[in-house]
């Protein structure tokens, strides 16, 4: 795999993956982001399903956590790509890695579809006497996508 080899041979990436400290530190940050910001995604989706946090409006839930989810998501993805790039040769043939990347793409598609009709329309959702089906569908899909993303991440280590 010449491309993968040339990616991981970039000087700084080689130094990174061979460092005793840098690699586990970046992996720890990646996992800490999963914990801190995964919790926010879970909480928002459970609110959209009407299962908890019901004294808070959907608007409050979505908008007050949005900046932190953006920061957390950006750090999480940046650290993840760094981890993958530094081991490009072992990741390139790994089907779990590519499944994870496809799921990441699907999460983008989910955002494109549901942001205009759910996440940008939270005041409309709050005015509705019952939580509309589109919000619940969006929440369930988000939970399924993020859970699959998480499981694929762990399984990457099990392919040989």
């Amino acid at each position: 795999m010449p491309t993968a080899h040339s990616i991981q041979s970039i000087g700084s990436l080689t130094a990174f993956s061979e460092s005793v400290l840098a690699y586990p530190i970046v992996l720890s940050i990646h996992l800490a982001c999963i914990a801190l910001f995964g919790g926010m995604i879970l909480a928002t989706n459970l609110r959209l399903l009407g299962l908890t946090f019901n004294s808070l409006t959907i608007t409050e839930m979505v908008t007050s956590l949005r900046p932190w989810k953006r920061v957390g998501g950006t750090i999480m993805i940046a650290m993840g790509l760094l981890l993958a790039a530094s081991k490009a040769e072992t990741y390139a043939p790994n089907p779990f890695f590519w499944t994870k990347m496809i799921i990441l793409g699907l999460i983008g598609v989910h955002a494109l579809i549901f942001r205009p009709i759910v996440y940008s329309k939270t005041e409309e959702l709050d005015r509705s006497p019952v939580i509309p089906a589109k919000a619940k569908v969006s929440a369930i899909l988000s939970l399924v996508l993020w859970t699959s993303m998480f499981v694929m991440g762990r399984l990457i280590a099990y392919w040989d």
Partner: protein, 149 residues
Amino acid sequence: MPLQNAVADALNNSEWVFALAECVHIGGFAVAIGSIALVDFRMLNLGLRRETTARILRYTELWTLIALLFVVFSGVALFLSQTDIYRVNLIFPLKMYVLAAALIYNFTVHRKVATLQNPSPVVSKLVAIVSLLLWVTVVFGGIFTGFLV
């Protein structure tokens, strides 16, 4: 110990059982720490400000507790599967001390301040920062246990 042998056999003889235990362990701490972090973010005034910290704690505490039970049980299973490695590991005991501190802190100081009627904002923020630091340290401890053998 027959129990230890049974657990070790189950996890070592099937790669998928070990992977499952790891997924439960990591997923569990994500939910546990994530739910605690929601309370911390409220205490730091970084989100969910239209609700009291006490109420946020009430919404999240059951999730935290159930998730922690999953983390501890899967963690014990992972430990029993390779006790020899953990016994000589330099980071593992440190992780256990910080974990014990984080657990005690969470159910005493953190809980107490989160349920106060009118806590001083400085105290609240300090308590939340210590909480986040403790839990992030536990995550680092877990990863470093695997890397610095």
